[in-house]
Subunit: 227 residues, 4 copies
Amino acid sequence: MMHAYGTTFPRLRAAAGPVWGAYTRHAFVEALRDGTLPRSAYLGYLVQDYIFLIHFARAWALAVTKAETVAEMRACATTLDALVNREIRLHVRTCAAAGLSEADLFATDEHPANLAYTRYVLEAGHAGDLLDLLAALAPCVMGYGEVGARLGPVPTDHRYAAWINTYAGAAYQQICRDAGALLDGAVARRVGLAPEATPGWSRLCERFRTATRLEVSFWDMGLSFGD
Amino acid sequence: MMHAYGTTFPRLRAAAGPVWGAYTRHAFVEALRDGTLPRSAYLGYLVQDYIFLIHFARAWALAVTKAETVAEMRACATTLDALVNREIRLHVRTCAAAGLSEADLFATDEHPANLAYTRYVLEAGHAGDLLDLLAALAPCVMGYGEVGARLGPVPTDHRYAAWINTYAGAAYQQICRDAGALLDGAVARRVGLAPEATPGWSRLCERFRTATRLEVSFWDMGLSFGD
Amino acid sequence: MMHAYGTTFPRLRAAAGPVWGAYTRHAFVEALRDGTLPRSAYLGYLVQDYIFLIHFARAWALAVTKAETVAEMRACATTLDALVNREIRLHVRTCAAAGLSEADLFATDEHPANLAYTRYVLEAGHAGDLLDLLAALAPCVMGYGEVGARLGPVPTDHRYAAWINTYAGAAYQQICRDAGALLDGAVARRVGLAPEATPGWSRLCERFRTATRLEVSFWDMGLSFGD
Amino acid sequence: MMHAYGTTFPRLRAAAGPVWGAYTRHAFVEALRDGTLPRSAYLGYLVQDYIFLIHFARAWALAVTKAETVAEMRACATTLDALVNREIRLHVRTCAAAGLSEADLFATDEHPANLAYTRYVLEAGHAGDLLDLLAALAPCVMGYGEVGARLGPVPTDHRYAAWINTYAGAAYQQICRDAGALLDGAVARRVGLAPEATPGWSRLCERFRTATRLEVSFWDMGLSFGD
């Protein structure tokens, strides 16, 4: 089952073509699912994902500066708060259990795949308007929601239950629905109810598709840590 | 009594010269204090200040994108949250009592004095680094703290008790101390413990002084609504 | 006669309403025309306009970063070059003849009316996309073109011939037509050929109208130097 | 022989450590030198480098917005002009000779290594001040100068004479010296004559080192096109 998370996201997903499946059904994901993912791959991924989330939080902060209504500002600020005060802490806890302090995480060299993805999203926001930024943010937010919903929930003795059940959980699924509603509202406000018919639609599709390509590279990077 | 709010703020304030007093002891402030400020001046100011706070919140969100540590990010995100979820609501409530809806507030034409101040602060952030932005944010945050501490607390039957006691209150004074600590830490991290001896100090002083000049224009605007 | 400079500009101008006339037929302009403008007002304006042009050049540089095609990039880079390598030098020369060095100009305190206008335009660019920025840049570029075409050319012994004939001249009129073509192309590419029918049109009109309001304040500032 | 291009660049290069050699003596470079680089690798690289230069030009435009003096603005605007009006045209010509139109180039999917590098540089500029941006721009500008000076000039019948002699040539070497002077002046103005002693020095070194790492990935990408 594919999740909708509003009406704009499914249209961007359809326009992205096969790369969406390459991302959400990536070998890394399947190995998380069946528990065969090497611990080193998981931990290597998690350390990079910690750094990813810091820049992802910066991108949501940038979204606040590009909002046009107080409601849009509040929605973006809420997501920012969830990232810097909750999701990041989760990574810190898991990594701490593996002997890595938050200072260790913060000092890690960013992998080129991580630089590519995070800076692409941020720069999409600087170059364009809120829609450019949201289109580049959507693959991560909603893709993880889709993966989580497909893989979980799983029993707590599953090797990767912590990860799977986070993204399968009600709280994260609500974040996806909220992000979908924010995107739908931002589209309606800026380009109307038939965005596919507007000249700017192909640019939004390109933002979404490029971010999705960079998700694939991010999973590739994760697998490479298991070599 | 002058408040310290850390060690950098008093140095920037001293470097600003007489314009600091022109701001914190402006006729608008004195009229708030003795209750002679016309209601029309107060309401006109409050409506513009609502719009000001929206852009001020955007500036704190921009600060999140310019932070270099997770601690800096959290400090800025907390201030952003306080603005969009608390201080703005205060204005909405007071204005609602005077018959103005939040939609009315949001639709108000921004006064040139408001445009000058808010856009100057935001653009200082875009042009420079976090220090440029914090130096431009400081006069508002700490100046209101200083005014509040000098004028209040006052009995609740004072004509402008709501305003005075907000800024005289413990919660707002803590915000000022936190902002001072954030500024001190950002300075230490970027230019060291003797910032006055660095070539960039005059630029930070200029940011602070210009923002203070624009506070004076903002009070001038407030008084003009009472004519 | 009103100049067209493309098809989008006249529509934005019409939507701005009476403020457009308040700007292009401002008392400062009429006093330039009949030569009654005090020299002190002219020089005070010119010094502020030098600083204005620096920030205006920065805004055209920002436009390069927000372009979507190489043609858009080149158009914006050409305007940037014209500003920093030609128009600014004109101000420097005129001010030098009046005994003011470029260092004097650069060190002048920016007037709040100048801060309001320049930072509004730059921040419109940061907050939105290229259209937001171009809509905020258009009133200055095309308004001066319109004023120049109405007032000039004048004989070289007219007191303000240097100013009037610059903006009435073929080179500046071409800049206006090029800016109009850039705007039309950017609109077509992003929102299509019927921009008034799109939800974002009111935002572009608001950008244009606010920048026009700030032009009025800028002339007001100019007149105030003659007091 | 190592080129100096001023006094700051050699210090950043020394601080970067072995990654500098990994970049400037990369297998791609050595294969350019001895002419063994497969044509497919060269062309694949050139197409990506066309897109790289577009974003690199955008980064120099961003630098104009972050300049603090008119001289800094003019230096950055001149580099921008050289990129969009000369260096990019060179790529267009070479690619045209190989049957690729500029439209083909512009429509090419950006490789993740390209996205990583260009967006990292741009975002370094948005996050920090002009020094952050120049430190991230320097490895490309000066590294190509160093490679050119080491490999060339070569006789025009060398397989890669066009590339080598461009970067070995007097015009490009002057660009490197100008960029070095701009960097030195920007450092002196902002942090003084002993930048290594300032707290922000490690951040600048990190910007430079990360951009250098991304140059290595960019050459890796180039080689991969020859497979």
